[in-house]
Symmetry: C2
Subunit: 67 residues, 2 copies
């Protein structure tokens, strides 16, 4: 298991957190996603190291940006 953290900008409420969480959870190998709304920090637990481009794509699909 690997934990990675990313910072996402533009999330303002719980709906935003849900959108990002749902998209990131769809990345292959991801088992857990934790989002801290005030800081924008997203902590992702995955079976193997994540591809940053996959995370960026998921975050952008949700409508937000990596910092």
């Amino acid at each position: 298991m690997t934990q990675s953290t990313y910072t996402v900008t533009g999330m303002t409420c719980g709906h935003c957190v849900s959108s990002v969480t749902e998209e990131v959870q769809e990345i292959r190998g991801v088992s857990e996603v934790a989002v801290d709304l005030p800081t924008g920090v997203v902590t992702i637990t995955s079976a193997e190291a994540l591809d940053d481009d996959a995370v960026r794509a998921a975050v952008e699909e949700a409508g937000y940006q990596l910092a």
Copy 2:
């Protein structure tokens, strides 16, 4: 047709706007709901005058408050 305006507090993003819009649209007689996110002003078009309590209940169901 009647137009009524209410001010809703706590909306921060498009998801919030969608939640409020969906709940208010369920009120009997409502034909159109327009939300201005920056100001929180919700303009409701309805067949007859609205019951303020019904609007308040819909907004609270969405997770927000009337100002």
